[in-house]
């Protein structure tokens, strides 16, 4: 590690995992741990002040999402609870319908729930993606029927940033009389939204993905959509989500929503330009690597690069040594032995799928940081390729499949 790098501030490029809670959000939350500690359901002044703050935050979210009514926002503990609530509510509210449509590349909050529901007798139709992570809308149209209780499709993929045409898909679902839910955890705060003009019935979001606190999220539920709560108990959230509200989290989320709206333009110009600068620098300097996903239709902050013939965790460790934080879809970072289900769904070869690195930026990143990362990556990849049995000198061995002949495969 160079002295310069050792003395430099660490660089955080793992914002799709979580973001730093904005200082403004933290400051707004603090009083709700101390002097404003009342229960918003209480009928006295301690509760009334707090209830007002909860209402203000709801209005901020309504504005960010372009929802028609603030009452369409239900607070949850995060994106996972919102996803689970949406899908399970749709099934319970439509007990005669036993089919679910989703995709092979959803977040595990949706996929693992669907796997469980399949064991309980539901039929889950998983839309496949092509090598760029894109859906086939004709296949989707063919699956829509009056047997389907709900469609759940992510707005943006957390690994590649690939955007799905959820507004169009919601219209198709509505035409078929099917409820449409989107896991928009990665998209909210990065893309302009106008839900009141869309056919989207339910949408999940999470606070800590948009510079809010962890442990708070929300489910958008279009007015009039039949709903069954996941948690039952008290009458909080109009009886749609029982449990005393996480007031500091809600206040922090509200401020984060305001800030996200304020910085939306920056996200789509300056941050996008930084992402493209990093992509160009790495792809130009490192042989045998490529950006995964639909690079023309993806989140402005996300860059996922597959480095062939090296393994992701090893790359992350060397990046970390230089103070650079990113993430990997490689098997070894998760304890599983299979590479990311998203990479497998796109058919990325194993020699590349295990070497994927996701760089996810935020409005806090600078051009100097991006240039430092771009300068560090080529040496790291070259260092690891020197160890790889699939690499020789300046390039891959002539036939990687034959060059290495293990006793089991």
């Amino acid at each position: 590690m160079s002295t310069l790098n050792a003395l430099s501030k660490p660089i955080y490029l793992d914002n799709n995992a979580t973001t730093r809670c904005a200082p403004e959000a933290v400051a707004a939350m603090l009083p709700f741990f101390t002097e404003q500690f009342g229960n918003p359901s209480s009928m006295h002044s301690f509760g009334a002040k707090v209830a007002s703050a909860v209402k203000t935050a709801r209005a901020s979210l309504q504005k960010l999402l372009g929802a028609e009514y603030d009452s369409e926002i239900i607070y949850t503990s995060g994106g996972t609870e919102a996803d689970n609530t949406a899908i399970l509510s749709a099934l319970k509210a439509n007990p005669e319908k036993k089919e679910i449509i989703t995709t092979t590349v959803e977040h595990h909050a949706v996929l693992h729930l669907c796997d469980q529901l399949e064991k309980e007798g539901y039929t889950v139709r998983k839309l496949k993606v092509d090598s760029r992570g894109r859906l086939d809308l004709d296949e989707y149209q063919a699956l829509l029927s009056n047997k389907v209780a709900v469609v759940s499709v992510m707005w943006a993929n957390n690994e590649t940033g690939t955007l799905f045409p959820v507004e169009r898909m919601a219209e198709m679902a509505r035409a078929a009389g099917v409820l449409f839910h989107t896991d928009a955890v990665q998209a909210v705060g990065k893309l302009p939204m106008a839900l009141k003009h869309s056919a989207i019935d339910m949408l999940s979001l999470s606070g800590h993905k948009l510079h809010g606190p962890k442990g708070i999220g929300a489910l958008y539920l279009r007015r009039g959509v039949r709903f069954r709560p996941l948690l039952r108990g008290g009458g909080q959230e109009r009886g749609r989500r029982a449990g005393t509200e996480n007031v500091p989290g809600i206040v922090g989320l509200g401020v984060a929503a305001e800030l996200a709206l304020e910085h939306m333009q920056e996200e789509n110009t300056r941050v996008r330009a930084l992402r493209d600068r990093l992509q160009h620098a790495i792809l130009s300097a490192v042989p045998c690597c490529f950006a995964t996903g639909d690079i023309d239709h993806r989140l402005p902050n996300t860059l996922n690069i597959a480095f062939e013939y090296v393994e992701g965790e090893a790359i992350l460790m060397l990046l970390s040594k230089q103070g650079i934080a990113a993430s990997s879809g490689s098997a070894c970072t998760s304890g599983s032995l299979e590479p990311s289900h998203v990479m497998r769904a796109m058919g990325i070869p194993y020699t590349a799928a295990h070497g994927t690195i996701r760089f996810s930026l935020s409005r806090e990143n600078t051009v100097e940081e991006i240039d430092r990362v771009a300068a560090a990556v080529p040496d790291i990849i070259a260092q690891l390729r020197k160890l790889s049995p699939y690499w020789s000198g300046d390039g891959p061995v002539s036939d990687p499949a034959k060059a290495f002949n293990p006793s089991y495969a």
């Binding site: 393994e311 090893a314 599983s336 032995l337 299979e338 295990h354 160890l387």
Partner: protein, 295 residues
């Protein structure tokens, strides 16, 4: 990020003996690209003394795979092949100051590469009996392939039995759902349905006559045999002496790494069938029950 020891980090950041070894006369290649790790171990062996004069590696793998490979080369240099073969995967992990349970397969890969390289030097082919699958029990580092194999070999039908045979699920219990999924899949293959309900409570039994007791023992042994025979092994009842039941392990089962697991599984079935605690003892011979010698 994994909680790696300082030694693991040192061997990862400063790998020893990395890269091709042009003078190598023994090469072992193991790994599974689908699982994300592959290792080529190269040795330079003195033909007169079978001493490893030099060793190097190339690895496609994670931090602990690289560290394990580096450690292995350091551990075996200067040893004879026979001495090197005594290095276990646990020795590699210990050398590194420990590995996370999820990463123990990296040390196993090192051990296997060594076996493969020695076989290559001696002109034979090393055949692994290792299958990798998703890690199910993180407490005891047991993967799905091992659980599936054990369920099939022993006709298991409950999580409790899987724990008896493999240890999987015997720790924090967070993997019980995963084990149930494997049970459901394997039982479905043989036309049975997995029931997560605990087995019905055993009815108290009256005391068995000696003949009934031996018949039940024979029935249990006979039930176990077809599965073992499919794997080119067998088990035979030799003698019964009070609480001790003597059996001979045959064919591939004799000396198999899974022998202890197989025996403990059969022992559990005997305990269930007899309603008493018994001890299953492997012996070498079926010919002379009066002169039984432990295997």
């Amino acid at each position: 990020m994994w909680d790696y020891s300082e030694t693991v980090k040192d061997h990862f950041y400063n790998p020893r003996n990395a890269g091709p070894l042009p003078e190598a006369n023994a090469i072992g290649e193991v790994g599974s690209i689908s699982c994300g790790d592959a290792l080529r171990l190269m040795l330079k062996v003195d033909p007169d003394t079978e001493t490893i004069l030099d060793a190097s590696f190339q690895t496609f793998g994670c931090g602990s795979a690289i560290a394990s490979s580096s450690a292995l080369t350091e551990m075996i240099k200067g040893k004879t092949l026979d001495e090197a073969l005594k290095v276990s995967n646990q020795d590699i992990a210990d050398f590194l100051g420990g590995l996370p349970p999820e990463k123990m397969h990296c040390s196993v890969m090192g051990r296997e590469a060594l076996q493969s390289a020695v076989a290559n030097y001696r002109g034979t082919t090393w055949k692994d009996d290792h299958e990798e699958g998703e890690l199910i029990c993180k407490c005891f580092a047991i993967d799905s392939a091992m659980i599936e194999k054990t369920i099939r070999a022993n006709n298991l039908c409950s999580v409790e039995q899987v724990t008896h045979y493999t240890k999987a699920g015997g720790g924090c219990s967070s993997c019980h759902e995963g084990i149930e999924e494997i049970l459901a899949r394997v039982l479905a293959e043989r036309g049975e349905r997995f029931s997560p309900a605990p087995p019905p409570a055993k009815k108290p039994r009256g005391k068995l006559s000696t003949l009934e007791r031996i018949r039940r023992i024979e029935q249990v042994i006979e039930r176990a045999r077809p599965n073992l025979q499919r794997d080119h092994g067998d088990i035979e009842l030799v003698d019964v002496d009070g609480k001790h039941i003597y059996v001979a392990m045959k064919g591939a089962c004799a000396g198999c790494q899974m022998e202890a697991l197989t025996l403990s599984g059969v022992e559990q079935q005997l305990i269930d069938a007899l309603g008493e605690i018994v001890k299953l003892v492997p012996v070498k011979s079926t010919r002379s029950p009066s002169a039984l010698s432990p295997a």
